[in-house]
């Protein structure tokens, strides 16, 4: 029982890791919490569903197309909305992202309706091992997320683009006078965020089904994970996601399943009271 809960919790945590990474990447570079993470995740889920169910593409092809579309959407939204507000402060950007979230969610609702949509995938028998049950979707989720985290970590730590992103996060004005175009870095960050959120949408759609509130149901634990890890810290986001996933799953030992989201609320509350910069976040410097 406990072993099964731990496996489920780790996979749930991995499901939260990609959107938490998307949230923390945008926060690190553009310095605002993007409330459109959930809606972009939903949009990515629907884009993949159209490719998979309507066009008939295999799921991994559908996921790749959805990731490309979501990256393009994120760049267009940056160009039309966020770039104009870049110097208006984080509150203006946050409110704009809330607005974008409502628009995206309602576009999905208008086009696809309120009913749930499932991907066309073969139903496979779960693997049973020592009394533990691991289903096919959990393996796909774990492999996809771990690969994405490794690729993103390599990109950030060992590529010129990653250095430029870290430099812009560290000191945007200095990055500009070192020849790094802030808007280019911002757009690449949005594109990466779009890719991560679309893949999360596919994995979340595999885990349950795609519906207009799919992303909204992940929004709170994703914020809890990113805040726990320390907003702006990619490693922190992954760690935070695993902790939240495990904590939510293990809470079902003592709480009714419907109340598991209370864990995210409690963790955010505790962090705001005791350690606002999270576990891996940099100390805020007031200038």
């Amino acid at each position: 029982m406990l072993g099964q809960l731990i496996i489920n919790g780790l996979v749930s945590g991995l499901l939260l890791a990609l959107p938490a990474l998307a949230l923390t990447l945008v926060f690190g570079i553009l310095k605002f919490p993007n409330f459109a993470v959930g809606a972009t995740l939903t949009f990515g889920g629907y884009a993949a569903w159209v490719m998979n169910h309507q066009v008939g593409a295999p799921l991994f092809v559908a996921a790749a197309v959805a990731a490309t579309i979501a990256a393009g959407l994120a760049i267009v939204c940056d160009r039309l909305i966020f770039e104009r507000l870049r110097d208006a402060g984080s509150i203006a950007l946050l409110v704009a992202s809330l607005g974008l979230s409502l628009v995206l969610e309602n576009i999905c609702r208008f086009v696809f309706g309120n009913s749930t949509r499932n991907f066309d995938v073969e139903i496979a028998r779960p693997i049973r091992w020592n009394g533990l049950r691991i289903n096919h979707e959990q393996i796909v989720t774990a492999v996809t997320v771990i690969l994405c985290v490794i690729i993103l970590q390599l990109l950030l730590s060992a590529s010129p683009l990653g250095r430029a992103m870290r430099a812009t996060a560290d000191n945007p004005a200095l990055a500009a006078v070192r020849g790094i175009e802030r808007n280019t870095v911002a757009r690449i960050t949005w594109a990466l965020s779009g890719v991560l959120l679309a893949l999360s949408g596919v994995l979340a759609g595999l885990d349950r089904a795609v519906d207009p509130l799919l992303g909204w149901s992940y929004q709170l634990p994703v914020f809890a994970a990113a805040i726990l890890g320390g907003l702006g810290s990619p490693i922190g986001a992954v760690f935070g996601a695993l902790v939240i996933g495990l904590a939510e799953e293990l809470s079902t030992l003592v709480l009714p399943t419907n109340y598991r989201q209370i864990v995210s609320f409690a963790i955010i509350l505790l962090l705001l009271l005791m350690r606002t910069r999270g576990l891996f976040g940099a100390k805020a410097v007031r200038k």
């Binding site: 010129p160 250095r163 870290r166 430099a167 560290d170 200095l174 500009a176 006078v177 070192r178 020849g179």
Partner: protein, 220 residues
């Protein structure tokens, strides 16, 4: 800033001095592109850069070292140095030869590539910032109070480094509060008072009495 006209030849140091709040830092930030000018124009070796972004001005030959936060603290020395040239593809003179020449000017920087820039002392950070700016093989180097907060030993080392940069053929525009130190190495001096040019003359022609008059006039 109003009515500030300036023409600086290569291989010279122009010290920009003036009382607090006279607009020295705003002037140099406007040249670097971090502040937008409402009118007027800026040219580097005959190329107009007024409408260019800060990043494109680096490509045109302008390098800027800010007063504070002049290195990426969360990146290593090696990463700071790499970033100084990585996005300047096509700029002439940028490459391994330039890097070797710059690192020979600041040997201590090259010895600790894996150290986080945030762990360096103020003077060492200043040297790293200089090195990064010079790696872009600039025509003009803009320095905003490079000796602020440094010990007397580092002040003289910094000024020596600035003088070496001039010898490499670069035009150095040095904004400085430490007037005595600036006058020791400058070829020319421009005094800013309340955003206007009060005086521009050869450094050797300026007396302490002239400076006291200009600074004191502002206080009155």
């Amino acid at each position: 800033m109003r009515g500030v006209t300036l023409d600086q030849p290569p291989e010279t140091i122009l010290a920009v001095i003036g009382p607090n709040g006279s607009g020295k830092s705003s002037f140099v930030k406007t040249l670097a592109g971090l502040l937008r000018s409402r009118e007027g124009s800026i040219e580097v070796t005959g190329e107009a850069v007024t409408s260019l972004s800060p990043a494109k001005r680096v490509m045109a030959g302008l390098a800027y070292v800010p007063q504070e936060e002049n290195v990426f603290r969360n990146l290593t020395i090696r990463e700071n140095l790499k970033l100084a040239t990585e996005f300047l593809r096509g700029r002439s003179g940028v490459g391994p030869a330039q890097e070797a020449q710059v690192l020979s000017l600041f040997p201590e920087i090259g010895r600790r590539p894996k150290t986080l820039a945030g762990d360096l002392s103020g003077g060492q950070r200043q040297m790293l910032a200089f090195a990064c700016a010079l790696l872009s093989n600039p025509e003009v180097l803009l320095l905003d109070e490079p000796t602020a907060g440094l010990s007397p030993k580092f002040v003289s080392e910094t000024m020596e480094a600035v003088a070496r940069v001039r010898e490499a053929g670069v035009a150095v525009l040095l904004v400085e509060q430490n007037v005595a130190a600036a006058l020791r190495i400058a070829d020319e001096v421009m005094v800013l008072v309340a955003g206007r040019k009060s005086l521009q003359a050869r450094a050797s022609d300026i007396s302490n009495a002239d400076l006291a008059d200009l600074f004191f006039a502002k206080m009155q």
